[in-house]
């Protein structure tokens, strides 16, 4: 519990996220059945199990090394759209962490780089009813609360992410498989935004 994050805490974040994804896999797949193709929970569960196996098999000197491995593992094991999107997020996130201690400000920079990677790969904007609807307000809230420290910033991010996820529920999807449903996608919670909020909540529980 300090002002900077240790590599071990990053590992804890990923282990906790793997556990949360496993517990919620059926719920995520259920959400995806309504407006997608009923595989988000099982795909993320498979990917995060592979991440946990990679954490156990290797030793990582820095957050940058750790997240490079995690990003590549997700790209190689998840498939669908979530593989490249989460994979790209962690690759870009890790690429910005550097070798030094990671404080609230440095984590904010890395999170923003990760989200920019998602935007670049998925070409989605706020309002398209995707994970970006959770990430964009989460980043804003994070930056606003960062001067108050890691704990405050991560909690604010998780809360704003959940708000963004819920605000996207009434929207008509414009990206991803949900967009094929047109008006019928309105009223359903987005699975990708949901798994993104779980990632933010796991961060708030482990990194601060």
């Amino acid at each position: 519990m300090g002002d900077t994050i240790e590599v071990a805490q990053f590992s804890d974040w990923m282990r906790r996220y793997a556990g949360v994804i496993h517990e919620n896999a059926a719920m995520l797949t259920e959400l995806d059945s309504a407006i997608g193709d009923a595989d988000h929970g099982s795909n993320m569960d498979r990917g995060m199990s592979a991440v946990v196996a990679a954490l156990e098999a290797g030793e990582f000197a820095s957050g940058a090394d750790l997240f490079k491995k995690i990003g590549m593992t997700l790209v190689s094991s998840v498939g669908g759209a979530s593989g490249p999107l989460y994979g790209t997020f962690f690759l870009r996130f890790g690429g910005k962490l550097g070798d030094g201690p990671v404080d609230a400000q440095a984590l904010g920079v890395a999170l923003r780089a990760g989200v920019e990677g998602i935007v670049q790969r998925g070409k989605a904007e706020v309002g398209d009813k995707t994970m970006i609807d959770a990430w964009a307000p989460a980043l804003e809230a994070y930056d606003a609360a960062a001067p108050d420290g890691l704990d405050a910033a991560l909690r604010a991010a998780a809360e704003a992410g959940a708000g963004g996820r819920d605000a996207a529920t009434p929207l008509v999807a414009r990206k991803g498989r949900a967009s094929y449903l047109g008006e019928r996608s309105a009223g359903h919670q987005d699975p990708g935004a949901t798994s993104s909020v779980l990632l933010l909540e796991a961060a708030a529980a482990t990194l601060a």
């Binding site: 797949t29 059945s33 997608g36 193709d37 009923a38 595989d39 099982s42 795909n43 498979r46 790209v75 190689s76 094991s77 998840v78 498939g79 669908g80 759209a81 979530s82 593989g83 490249p84 999107l85 790969r121 998925g122 398209d128 414009r174 990206k175 991803g176 498989r177 967009s179 094929y180 449903l181 047109g182 019928r184």
Partner: protein, 333 residues
């Protein structure tokens, strides 16, 4: 869930084991990467054709690997795009020095994973091009959405482009042909039932006995709208009308037509549907130059069908008639 499987987690790998022993004369399987290769790949000087996507659409794509069609197919989990490692293994494995064409169906995941694979392959020495098939008229195309899905035209395109690659055309020529075929191909589908993804264990959506889902894709996803169940004649009209107005096709046009089963509809019904489709086309002054009736691009055990039309000319009919020897399509050999 009633399925002839051993374990929901092993559906794809065990199907590939069976496929390898069934078609070992023509195919070999890289089990680590879940890639089906033509047995004699790579062919020196021939453009390599790689496709792939989620599993559950059999015979597409693994069943279309062989002489006159694909050189390799990457098999993802059921209804889930394969990953870049698989596509890279397929791409380097089929490159005979003339480059490789990726045939990608327009789904967000497929497009992103193939893009990442193409970036990785470009770091090596392989020249990679890609064509994204987006032929589903149920989805209104727009700059602001994911666009139309890739469905039935993919099968016809793989056959036609496969013949062109077999005849020694260059990567540029093969890519141009693939793009042109996608431009003149249109599809529309309907479902009478949903389907069950093995890992999910229950149907993706529920459909009443008196309902059908119009404008479906190939992943058990709900369609554009739910309509009352109707006769084959009216169902054919619901599929053919939006296709004909979309391209548009007109009097005097010639087409390659496919009436495709989604996996759970018997051939006897597909032939009734084909008869109705042919009658509607005739009425519109359109000639069917060649046709396919059967299960070619499926959605597990979903009942229902789709109609695909590709506007044909002499060149395309010639490519269609060229020899093909794959588990899913075989003639002229």
């Amino acid at each position: 869930m009633k399925k002839l499987i051993n374990d929901p987690a092993d559906v794809v790998s065990q199907a590939l084991l069976g496929m390898e022993v069934a078609h070992g004369d023509r195919l070999r399987v890289d089990h680590e990467h879940k890639v089906v290769f033509r047995k004699d790949a790579p062919r020196s000087g021939k453009v390599g054709l790689v496709s792939g996507g989620g599993s559950g659409h059999e015979p597409m794509h693994g069943g279309y690997v062989g002489l006159g069609m694909l050189d390799a197919a990457c098999c993802g989990e059921v209804f889930t795009s394969p990953v870049p490692d698989q596509m890279l293994a397929a791409t380097t494995g089929v490159d005979g020095g003339a480059g490789v064409l990726h045939i990608v169906k327009n789904y967000t995941g497929d497009v992103m994973n193939f893009e990442m694979a193409a970036e990785l392959a470009a770091d090596g020495d392989v020249q990679v091009r890609s064509v994204v098939v987006d032929d589903d008229v149920a989805v209104q195309d727009s700059l602001y959405t994911a666009g139309r899905r890739g469905v039935g035209t993919t099968v016809l395109l793989e056959k036609l482009v496969g013949a062109a690659a077999e005849s020694g055309r260059s990567l540029d020529e093969v890519t141009e042909l693939a793009t042109r075929i996608n431009g003149v191909g249109r599809s529309m589908g309907l479902a009478l039932t949903s389907c069950t993804v093995p890992a999910a264990g229950k149907p993706t959506f529920e459909l009443g006995d008196d309902e059908m889902e119009l404008g479906i894709g190939i992943h058990g996803e709900p369609g554009r709208k739910r309509v009352p169940m109707t006769s084959a004649a009216e169902a054919a009209q619901l599929l053919v009308d939006p296709i004909l107005t979309d391209l548009p096709y007109g009097t005097g046009d010639s087409v390659i037509a496919m009436v495709n089963g989604m996996g759970g509809t018997p051939l006897i019904e597909l032939y009734i549907m084909y008869g109705e489709v042919q009658r509607l086309l005739e009425k519109a002054g359109i000639t069917v130059a060649r046709c396919l009736v059967g299960n070619y691009i499926t959605s597990l055990e979903m009942a229902g069908c789709s109609v695909t039309l590709v506007k044909a000319d002499d060149e395309l009919v010639g490519l269609w008639d060229a020899p093909v020897n794959t588990p899913g399509l075989r003639w002229g050999v």
